[in-house]
């Protein structure tokens, strides 16, 4: 994927670009507002990572301009300003996601992947499958192999989200935001407990584990 990174802090930019390369993406870097705006408008990208505080043109203005030019390129906004009002402002300007600094690279990558998947919709099937695990979104049932697995409503939602991003790393923050509609981190590792319970239900008694922990980032569901 081709990604545009608009970030004036050289260290941070280098870091992100390196991470993108290692994930197999192609990255362009712009260090100023005007430069970034130029790239954004004149070239086609699969995604953009835009810092808010830029010299010259503010990041949000760039996003607004891109949107008003009719481009639906997914945008992640980076910012040191993290409160709800600022987040809303960022999303209103046309951003698809909002990350507060400092962030973990894994977080950025996971969200980027999620955005790619959203941007290129495959026909959303009513049944999600990972290995021998099948989740029927309409009937709200889960089966593995021949066995029917009973899940509580939130366990179901959690599994559904993981499976919709099968093969991608899903961070704890992403889960909090999308499965529980939370926009801050509770102190205890709440997510871990929920994942552990879910694991028990779908893995106990079966040969292969499906939910894997990615150290420092989050979880991923997949055959492995």
């Amino acid at each position: 994927m081709k990604v545009l990174v608009i970030e004036d802090d050289v260290e941070v930019a280098t870091f992100i670009v390196k991470g993108l390369h290692e994930a197999g993406h192609v990255a362009d870097h712009a260090a100023t507002g005007p430069d970034g705006l130029f790239h954004a408008v004149s070239e086609e990208y699969d995604a953009m990572i835009v810092d808010r505080m830029l010299p010259g043109v503010p990041g949000l203005t760039i996003v607004e301009t891109v949107r008003s030019a009719g481009k639906t390129t997914p945008v992640i906004i980076l910012s040191a300003l993290g409160d709800v009002d600022e987040r809303i402002r960022g999303l209103r300007a046309g951003g698809d996601d909002y990350l507060t600094k400092p962030f973990a690279l894994g977080e950025l990558m996971a969200r980027l992947d999620a955005m790619f998947r959203r941007a290129s919709p495959t026909i959303a099937s009513t049944t999600l499958r990972v290995a021998d695990l099948a989740l029927d979104r309409l009937a709200r049932t889960v089966t593995r192999g021949e066995r029917r697995i009973d899940l509580q409503p939130q366990e179901f939602r959690l599994l559904e989200y993981l499976m919709r991003h099968a093969g991608q790393v899903v961070t704890r923050t992403m889960l909090l935001e999308n499965v529980w509609d939370y926009h801050f981190d509770p102190q205890t590792s709440v997510i871990d407990v929920h994942i552990s319970k879910l694991r028990q239900k779908i893995e106990k008694g079966f040969a292969a584990p499906l939910i894997h922990t990615v150290r420092g980032s989050g979880y991923v569901i997949g055959p492995r």
């Binding site: 802090d9 260290e11 009002d85 690279l105 529980w180 926009h183 709440v190 552990s196």
Partner: protein
């Protein structure tokens, strides 16, 4: 019907006091006049009587009883105003010459000296009331007595009339004082109410409002000018705080970001065999970031415009969300989770902040309640407020520390070693303040019970003060 507020104002009380003082002094003054005038009139009458008596005594000395009788006749003839009374009594008490017509028959001699007699009015008199005659009776050397009198109907009338006027005046001044006091108090009350209303608006977050300053340049205007200056200062301070927190956000987060990124880079470069110290350091950096975030959030909550993110919140729904997230965690720790919901509870609030505050409280409960215990959430409400309570069976917070724990970074001695920044309760306190809610910490015997009493609030503008 409740007593109108005007009657409670200090201005009204003051004007009543003033009116009372005024009335008392007026009464005293007028009483003196009343008495003085009465006295003067009586004294004057007595003088006339005395001069008559002197004339009669001279006549008696010269010509005996006969002279007195002729003088009586002359004087009665000369008395055009018909106010004089002369009466001669012989030594046996019978009435001789004279024009005394007492209402009550005199059985004996009138007493010597000054006195009063009630007499019939003259036939030609306008009113038919009996008149009071002021008299003086002297002894004559032949044994008889002479009574000289003057009709004091008119002086009495005068004094009575003055008395009436005093009474009327008193009554009128009380009424006027009452009305005047009422009107003044009302005007002042209106002014004070105006100030109170603007203050309330300001407290609700409309920091740009100012108190209206009149043109009278009186003490009220001075006061409001000063208050407005104070509000200007507060607005500036709050703007400064916002600027500082944004500045901190940017200036401190940048080095933190770089720090974390370098650590992550080092980790990535070393791959799976990275030094575990790197991991620990990253965890510490994240810890710093969490504390930093929490602190900033508290500052933002304190500084923000209260109503900016308010909307209708269903407390039952909120509690359900919490349950969805935390019940599993609680049960995993061997704690029972209980929820009590009493009624359908909608309030006007900031849902994210409430959720975060509640989350902090639940986090604490999970952290400190030992296995086998219980965490319960309770929601209930009355017409104007709702209660949100969380109770645990942990060690609780000693009464002495209950105020302190709400301060940022405060940690009880016993829990200093457990992870946490000591900001959880500080945020809850900030959120409570933002909502105008009461935050109560109590002993759940055993354990801690934290209650948030939230005003329901509504979407319409603030209720205007009582008017009448």
């Amino acid at each position: 019907m409740p007593i109108p507020r005007v009657l409670h104002t200090s201005t009204f009380r003051l004007s009543i006091l003033f009116a009372a003082f005024f009335c008392v002094s007026a009464v005293l003054l007028l009483s003196v006049v009343y008495w003085g005038v009465g006295r003067v009139l009586i004294d004057q009458t007595d003088e006339h009587i005395d001069s008559d008596v002197a004339a009669f005594e001279k006549a008696f000395a010269v010509g005996g009883r006969q002279a007195v009788e002729s003088l009586i006749a002359v004087k009665i003839g000369n008395d055009t105003s018909q106010t004089a009374t002369y009466q001669l009594f012989s030594s046996d008490g019978s009435m001789r010459t004279g024009n005394l017509r007492p209402v009550l028959r005199l059985n004996t001699f009138p007493e010597l000296g000054r006195g009063e007699v009630t007499s019939e009015p003259l036939p030609e008199a306008h009113n038919r009331e009996p008149h009071t005659i002021r008299t003086r009776t002297v002894k004559l050397s032949d044994g008889g007595r002479l009574l000289v009198g003057r009709d004091i109907y008119t002086p009495l009338e005068i004094t009575e009339r003055i008395g009436q006027i005093v009474g009327l005046g008193l009554f009128a001044s009380i009424i006027l004082a009452g009305i005047g006091g009422w009107m003044i108090s009302r005007a002042l009350l209106r002014r004070v109410d105006g100030m109170a209303r603007v203050s309330r608006g300001i407290m609700e977050g409309h920091l740009d409002r100012r108190l209206p300053v009149g043109r009278a340049n009186d003490e009220f205007d001075h006061l409001t000018s000063q208050l407005n200056a104070m509000l200007d200062r507060i607005e500036t301070l709050m703007a400064d705080v916002r600027q500082v927190t944004s500045g901190i956000a940017h200036d401190l987060r940048s080095p933190l970001t770089r720090l974390r990124m370098r650590l992550e880079k080092a980790q990535l470069e070393r791959g799976e065999n990275a030094d575990p110290v790197l991991e620990e350091v990253i965890v510490e950096v994240d810890g710093i970031r969490a504390t930093f975030d929490a602190l900033l959030r508290i500052a933002q909550v304190d500084a923000r415009d209260p109503r900016s993110n308010f909307d209708v919140v269903d407390l039952e729904h909120l509690v359900q969300r919490m349950t969805e997230l935390y019940r599993t965690v609680a049960e995993d720790k061997g704690l029972t989770w209980r929820v009590n919901i009493d009624g359908d509870l909608l309030i006007y609030a900031d849902e994210q902040l409430l959720a975060q505050g509640l989350s902090n409280l639940i986090d604490n409960a999970l952290k400190y309640t030992p296995a086998g215990g219980r965490i319960s959430l309770q929601v209930s409400g009355e017409t104007d407020r709702a209660r949100l309570a969380i109770e645990d069976t942990g060690p609780g917070i000693p009464t002495a520390a209950r105020q302190e724990v709400l301060k940022p970074f405060f940690r009880l001695e016993e829990s200093r070693s457990t992870p946490g920044s000591g900001l959880g309760l500080a945020l809850v306190a900030a959120v409570a303040k933002l909502h105008g809610a009461e935050l109560l910490l109590a002993d759940a015997a055993p354990g801690l019970r934290v209650t948030l009493i939230l005003p329901r609030g509504d979407i319409s503008p603030p209720v205007p003060p009582v008017r009448f």
